[in-house]
């Protein structure tokens, strides 16, 4: 069974490039309905399926994602 993971997204930095969504194997990220200060719909954790693989963080150009596992 995959380890349980968690991500936090600094929404102020996010530019909604969607690259994290593309690489996430578990559809654990989605775009928020809300706008951030830059006028983007920032990414946010979607459901509890995150396995903490950090692919999203490796991809994120804004270094906006932090990943935890445990």
């Amino acid at each position: 069974m995959a380890a349980k993971g968690k991500i936090t997204i600094n929404q102020g930095l996010c530019k909604a490039c969607e690259l994290c969504l593309t690489v996430c194997p578990d559809e654990a990220i989605r775009l928020s309905e809300n706008l951030n200060e830059k006028g983007y719909h920032p990414a946010e954790p979607a459901k509890d399926s995150c396995r903490g693989c950090a692919l999203c963080a490796v991809m994120c150009p804004e270094a906006a994602i932090e990943v935890y596992r445990g």
Binding site: K6, K15, C17, E18, L19, T22, M59, P61, E66, Y68
Partner: protein
């Protein structure tokens, strides 16, 4: 819970000016991760280019010296000769490195200057608005090749990395891509190795990184990463072109 990935300390806690999905931001992050992991902050100096990365000093929390368009490798040479124990790297776009700065780059490599160049190939002039670069793909439309790059008019994509790999002064020469998380990890490894080669004093090290410019390619970030893998990597095959460190001493 244990932190698996956190933002590198030497990446200033500010938002950057790069477009959404720009490869520069990813490479900046990788460099900063390495500066932290290899504890280089106190001895590393970056020479950014004229190009989209000109403002790198707003993001890198270590010493940074501006350079005129294309002169990075000459400035880096001055730094390295004056301070041989410091780690000096240039960060250059394809116009900066392979057009206006060809001479400076080639000769620094040929002298075996103990510096590292991170060469961000996005096949266009990003900063000035998407004009043709020496690395623009055949048929690729840019603002100054509106009919697509024609070899009989504009010549061929310049493979300066292959060229440099032929020089005895170059110790480690490789091309990587940002197309997938795995390739991004490979890129980080390559840059790490390039720094190590510099520290070992083996010679010039160069990492060309194929990098998306969604804005001037006029596609979404997602599409840009697909183009990177499916089209650009065909013209510019990734992989190590030269690695002197694996050779046995005579």
């Amino acid at each position: 819970m244990k932190a698996i990935y956190t933002r590198p300390k030497s990446l200033k806690p500010v938002s950057n000016h790069y477009c959404p999905g720009c490869g520069h931001s990813i490479i900046h992050r990788l460099v900063c991760e390495l500066v932290d992991e290899m504890d280089m902050r106190g001895r590393i100096i970056c020479i950014p280019p004229a190009g989209c990365a000109v403002l790198a000093y707003n993001y890198f929390d270590f010493d940074v010296c501006e350079s005129a368009h294309g002169r990075g490798c000459a400035v880096a040479t001055g730094f390295k000769r004056a301070q041989p124990d410091r780690i000096i790297f240039t960060y250059q776009g394809d116009g900066d490195m392979a057009a206006i700065g060809t001479a400076e780059t080639l000769h620094a490599a040929n002298r075996g200057e103990k510096i590292t160049s991170i060469f961000v190939n996005n096949a266009v002039y990003g900063m000035t608005g998407g004009q043709m670069a020496p690395t623009t793909m055949i048929g690729q439309k840019t603002t100054t090749s509106p009919y697509g790059r024609r070899t009989e008019v504009e010549g061929y994509p310049l493979k300066i990395t292959e060229l440099i790999a032929t020089l005895p002064g170059a110790a480690y020469v490789t091309r990587t891509s940002l197309a997938t998380p795995a390739k991004i990890r490979e890129t980080k490894k390559a840059i790490k190795k390039a720094f190590e080669v510099q520290m070992a004093g083996t010679g010039y090290s160069l990492v060309e990184v194929l990098s998306p410019c969604p804005t001037n390619w006029k596609v979404s970030p997602r599409e840009a990463f697909v183009y990177l893998e499916e089209t650009m990597e065909k013209e510019y095959p990734i992989g190590v072109m030269k690695d002197n460190t694996t050779k046995k001493d005579k």
